[in-house]
């Protein structure tokens, strides 16, 4: 009985944990933005405004769920689902503690994450296309170009970690950081990964697919109610995923002195989510062409250089 119950428990708790983190980070973001901008933020519902998320969820659920008559109905329906599922599935291969993780030891774990990120692009692109609205289409096309480009740099920047750890399994990568976190030898890769992570989750300052001062609300212009809510949740789950990936790949995952492994993992992820929110508050949005040229002219050579140097160092060490 036990061998069946344990994995199911792990899966259910992980899924609801991710949902909870995504939902809570919406409130956290609004409160923190309030702090950064010297105003209270939402502080009326419950202690410290913690129940704001319940109020938001009720609003989303009871709003009229409207599908525009000119939209492509089925594609319009599945687009937000694809995006949310892709992020949720990626969490399956992220090991949280030595004993907790759905499939952390999967030997192609990191590739699985990239596969899911690649499928996540469909969500935004199809939402833009199926809305049959020129602003949504522009947002979808921006999303396709931006996410595909930054997936390249994300994948290349991670190769340094994979070469150093000698494995695609995220659990092995965490184990390889027992003595030295990869952020020290792989600091360049870590910075590129962080930047690509922002572009990949299309968060501010790289939120061009939904740049509201240029193209309405971008790909989700026509979405309302809980279908918009799914996009919203997927964005925050994406931030949590990006933070969890940086934690496991560069910050030693659950490793750390004194405190239990789960607490270390949670602290690192929480600080990274706060950093993402700080970026949103602190940085203005560049232009779309600046984002693309920055990616291909700066990040691509840098990530290739990172691979070259890492490979050379590994070869030299092996030769000695």
């Amino acid at each position: 009985m036990m061998p069946i119950v344990w994995p199911i428990l792990v899966i259910v708790v992980t899924v609801f944990g991710v949902l909870g983190v995504a939902a809570l980070s919406t409130t956290l973001e609004r409160r923190l933005l309030g702090v950064f901008q010297d105003r209270p933020g939402p502080n009326r519902v419950g202690p410290f405004g913690l129940f704001q998320i319940i109020a938001d969820a009720m609003k989303m659920l009871f709003k009229q769920d409207w599908i525009p008559p000119f939209a492509d109905k089925w594609v319009f329906l599945i687009a937000p689902i694809i995006g949310f599922l892709a992020v949720l599935l990626s969490f399956g291969v992220v090991p949280i503690t030595p004993i907790w993780g759905v499939a952390g030891e999967l030997n192609v774990g990191l590739l699985f994450v990239f596969g899911m990120l690649g499928l996540g692009v469909y969500s935004v692109v199809l939402a833009g296309w199926s809305s049959n609205n020129k602003y949504a289409l522009l947002g979808g096309m921006r999303a396709a170009a931006q996410m595909i480009s930054y997936e390249v740099f994300m994948g290349l920047s991670v190769m340094g970690v994979v070469m150093a750890a000698g494995s695609f399994s995220i659990r092995d990568i965490v184990e390889a950081q027992t003595n030295c976190w990869f952020i020290i030898p792989q600091c360049l890769g870590a910075v590129i990964f962080l930047l690509a992570g922002i572009a990949e989750t299309h968060r501010l300052p790289f939120d061009f697919p939904e740049g509201e001062n240029e193209i309405g609300a971008g790909f989700h212009t026509e979405y309302s109610g809980m279908k918009f809510g799914l996009f919203y949740l997927a964005e925050y789950a994406g931030v949590a995923l990006s933070s969890a990936l940086i934690t496991t790949l560069y910050l030693g995952g659950w490793h750390g002195p004194f405190l239990p492994p789960f607490l270390w993992f949670a602290i690192k992820v929480f600080l990274l989510i706060c950093f993402y929110i700080l970026l949103r508050a602190a940085l203005p949005r560049p232009r779309y062409d600046q984002l693309m040229s920055f990616g291909w002219k700066v990040l691509l050579p840098l990530s290739l250089l990172n691979i070259l140097v890492t490979g050379a160092v590994i070869l030299l060490r092996a030769g000695v």
């Binding site: 492509d72 594609v75 999967l106 030997n107 192609v108 590739l111 699985f112 990239f114 596969g115 990120l117 690649g118 499928l119 692009v121 469909y122 692109v125 199809l126 833009g128 296309w129 289409l137 979808g140 096309m141 396709a144 170009a145 595909i148 997936e151």
Partner: protein
């Protein structure tokens, strides 16, 4: 036989058939993505997770997104949909179907003619062994697949040229 493997195979075949017959290009592309994902699941079931992940990342995640991107860029509308419907009308599909079924029969023959001993699922097979099998016993199948690619190329050229002539 592995039931999941057969299920994924059926999904792949069904999705591919739908991809061919849809008149809205984006729907066709989506079914093609489903078919590629089912193929990736089959690779995984056969004990090749790396190939499965590459299938998802390269084909479903990158190439098909570019296809969708291009289809969105040229923004096909109602007239193109009607034209696609016109291609299916009037028995125009009979000839190509007969040729395709002939080719499929040959492919199935090529695959069954040299039944290789199926290795244990999960065993590691190197690229050299794959290459030798592909260009040894299965050479007929490989060459027939290249027929199919050539036919696709020629028909794409034909369709593209006709539209150019009209405008």
């Amino acid at each position: 036989m592995n039931i999941m493997l057969e299920l994924y195979g059926l999904i792949a075949i069904g999705a591919t058939a739908l991809a061919i017959t849809r008149t809205i290009p984006v729907h066709g592309l989506l079914y093609l993505v489903v078919s590629l994902l089912a193929l990736a699941c089959m690779f995984e079931q056969l004990g090749a997770p790396f190939a499965a992940m590459l299938e998802i990342i390269v084909y479903a995640g990158a190439i098909m997104v570019l296809f969708v991107f291009v289809v969105m860029m040229i923004n096909l509308g109602q007239p193109d949909q009607l034209r696609e419907k016109g291609w299916f009308a009037g028995g125009a599909w009979i000839g190509p179907s007969v040729i395709s079924i002939l080719l499929m029969g040959l492919l199935v023959y090529g695959l069954n003619h040299n039944t290789m001993a199926v290795g244990t699922v999960g065993a590691v097979i190197g690229p050299k062994a794959v290459g030798l099998t592909l260009y040894g016993p299965y050479i007929l199948t490989v060459e027939l697949s290249s027929f199919l690619l050539l036919a696709g190329l020629v028909s794409a050229y034909h369709i593209g040229r006709r539209i150019g002539g009209n405008s």
